[in-house]
């Protein structure tokens, strides 16, 4: 957060603090707490390389004799491994930090991809109308009829079948981003189209049309800034959904490989050990995922109420 010292003039920071948005934020204790936890988790995973006690990607640092150690407070736990180790001796805490980084990275990029696709198509549909609108929106409705995870699985399956088997691990992250991104654009498109149809009739749009500005410039330079509110809300809400979809795909074994695990991969690996009593391999990544998704969702919910109460 930009924290510039206050001057006699109302500074930017003061203006932010006095804005409706900030007041509403500070009034909601749950949102403040959720935002705090989410920011801490995201910061910790971004800085994983700095704060993680071990590097789970460095195979030379992993000792097989450290495998299956329980968390430090259990019998047999070691202080080097706060939350215990997995079946090949990786520190669970470090794999969670690196794993969240992978999950958040895939979540953010796939949301960005759906945003770009959805906003572009929504603007075109809303502004142009007619046949193009019908085609885009019918396509969106067909996709909306299918659960996101199924669409993501379908796209994932196709992309994986296209990639040569030895390349699958290398392109796994890209495949995930594409499959999640392509399965989530519909909400963006629908919201943007609705707002665009309202904006299209406004006088400022008529004015720029009269002075001969082209449709692309009108859509992206003039209408887009005015429909950003709902887009931000949907993006935040979709982020937790995307993280969850990534975890689901990785859990099903079609996500990132276990050598560079995300949270879903960790949970998947850990389930093999649930019956043998090594609960920590799966419970901790699971709890981290739940916390991350919950807090991002709470922030998104608040943002929706604050920015656009009409948005369902």
């Amino acid at each position: 957060m930009p924290d510039t010292p206050a001057h006699s003039e109302p500074s930017r920071w003061q203006r932010i603090r006095q804005s409706d948005l900030a007041l509403s934020f500070l009034a909601s204790k749950v949102t403040v707490a959720a935002a705090f936890v989410a920011v801490v988790m995201i910061a910790a995973s971004v800085g994983a390389a700095l704060i993680a006690p071990h590097n789970p990607y460095d195979m030379a640092a992993i000792d097989i004799f450290d495998s299956m150690l329980p968390p430090v407070w259990e019998d047999g736990g070691e202080r080097r491994f706060l939350l215990g180790t997995d079946s090949i001796g990786r520190d669970i805490l470090s794999t969670i930090l690196y794993g969240s980084r992978m999950s958040i990275f895939i979540g953010l990029t796939s949301v960005a991809l759906s945003l770009v696709i959805g906003v572009t198509l929504g603007l075109i549909a809303g502004y142009r109308g007619g046949l193009l609108d019908s085609i885009i929106m019918r396509l969106a409705e067909v996709q909306l009829a299918l659960p996101t995870i199924l669409v993501a699985l379908l796209i994932n399956g196709i992309l994986r079948a296209v990639a040569p088997p030895t390349m699958v691990n290398d392109v796994a992250v890209l495949v995930l981003i594409l499959s999640i991104g392509l399965s989530n654009w519909v909400q963006f498109a629908r919201a943007v189209r609705a707002s665009t149809m309202v904006e299209r009739g406004q006088e400022y749009v008529l004015a720029v049309r009269l002075i001969g500005i082209g449709p692309m410039a009108i859509m992206f330079r003039h209408i887009l800034p005015n429909v950003m509110g709902p887009i931000m809300v949907i993006a935040t809400l979709n982020l937790s959904g995307a993280i969850l979809t990534e975890a689901t795909l990785s859990f099903l074994g079609v996500g990132v490989p276990s050598t560079r695990p995300s949270l879903g991969t960790l949970i998947n690996v850990g389930t093999d050990y649930l019956f043998s009593g090594a609960w920590w391999i799966t419970i901790f990544p699971g709890a981290a995922l739940a916390l991350l998704v919950l807090t991002v969702n709470l922030v998104g919910d608040w943002l929706r109420d604050a920015l656009n109460p009409t948005l369902g």
Partner: protein, 531 residues
Amino acid sequence: MKLYQTIASSTLATVVAVTFAAQVQAQENVLRWSSQSALANIDPHGTTTALPLSIFSNVYEPLVGLNSDMELVPVLAESWEVVNPTTWRFKLREGVTFHNGNTFNADDVIFSMERVGNRYSFLRDRVSMIEEMVRVDDYTIEFITREPYPILPQMWTSIYMMDKEWAEENDATVPSNSVENIESYAGQHSNGTGPFRITERVPETRTVFEPFADYWDEVEHNLDRVVYIPITQDGTRVAALLSGEIDMMYPVPIQDIERLQSNAGTDVLIQPELRTIMLGMDQNRDVALHTNTGDNPFKDRRVRQAVYQAINIDAIQDRIMNGLSEPAATLISPLLFPPAGEMERHPFDPEASRALLAEAGYPDGFQTALVCPNNRYVNDERTCQAVTSMLARVGIEVELRTMNVTQYWGVVGRPVQDFAMYMMGWTPGGLDSYSVLFNLMGSWDEESGRGRINNGDFANDRIDEIIALVESETDTEIRDALIMEAYQIVHDEVYYLPLHQQTVVWGVRDGIAVTQRADDYFQFRTARFTD
């Protein structure tokens, strides 16, 4: 494909459970069991993988089989004799019918042998010794071999007999081949002489077997139906057994043995397995794939030995396999070839390993890649991860590529061989060293199929010579000495990195009795509901 399996394992487990709950009430003995992978096809000549071959043994039968003590027993052949060193006379069993009612006779044997010898067959090497087949009468047949071939019956224990008329009517004379994309009628339909017939098959989901009423032999089972449900995930498979969704499954993940033993209602059967797990290396290409040295380091014996000595096999046995593996010094289990037990591994010694790498011109190590199956052998992926970390400690940075076994064979097998290093397990066909020598150690010869599984493509003239000698040597002592010499060469030249023999662990629900076999063949005819 894995996707389907995963969905199948979760959703269908429920569906199947519900469907069959109703039928159990009708006092039917329905045995539901599970293992790791789905049947890609049901062509008995369309695979060389142990799991499908073992499942097919319930539907199709060989001339000569193995009983549960791994001894040769007559099956569709009543008896056999060596007329002269190159002529074997088999007397066939009379009164045997196929599931479609056709009678089994010498024509079916000749047809099946020809089908197995087809150029698209994965089992071609098992019959390549035949020079000529002579039909003496309806139930007598003579096989003439090029050279004396003392272990001929051992080689044929998984060579299943198919009905000639049925295959010809349905245009199924060429075996299914997933690599060449050949889809045979016999890959989707079955017609054997075995005690069970396949009545329903939903690919990747389930295969249903029912007893064949006109089976020629006495059977001990009291089953009305057998359902095979592939469940890829180890944890899910254990959960299915614990919850009673399935009655029997293998392999039991090592970490869950204790749980199944202590649970009231389930138990485990444990036996040493005959398969040997090993790592192979590309020793043919001038520039190894996925490797950053610009040459092929694995052509240098010192590098191969460095890799060998960097692997702490005791740690793998202790931490990954929970003590349930036997470190191996060569490519065959001492249970099958006792002299192998006298061989010793190159010692684990990371210092020596680094020194060897430096001597070979890679003082800082190098980067390479390892291909591993992740649903084939016991803890295969974890073993590979452990190897990766052990190699990293001597400076060899390995990129691990894991895949399910269906993809794995397409990558590792001929002609793709897209690897620098790979993991593989091998149970010798016929349980004899000859199969190891011929398939894994011989140099590649397309015509005879020699070296077909020598994916690393190394070549050693003396080993090729020994293979030719062993094939026709009838004196056991000389033969064993020759075989031992070949294993010693592989050890000295470090052509392979043997890891261990794993353990067969079956999980069974109380109230079911099954006979466990060292070759992991689950024979339904030995299973009984005891309550």
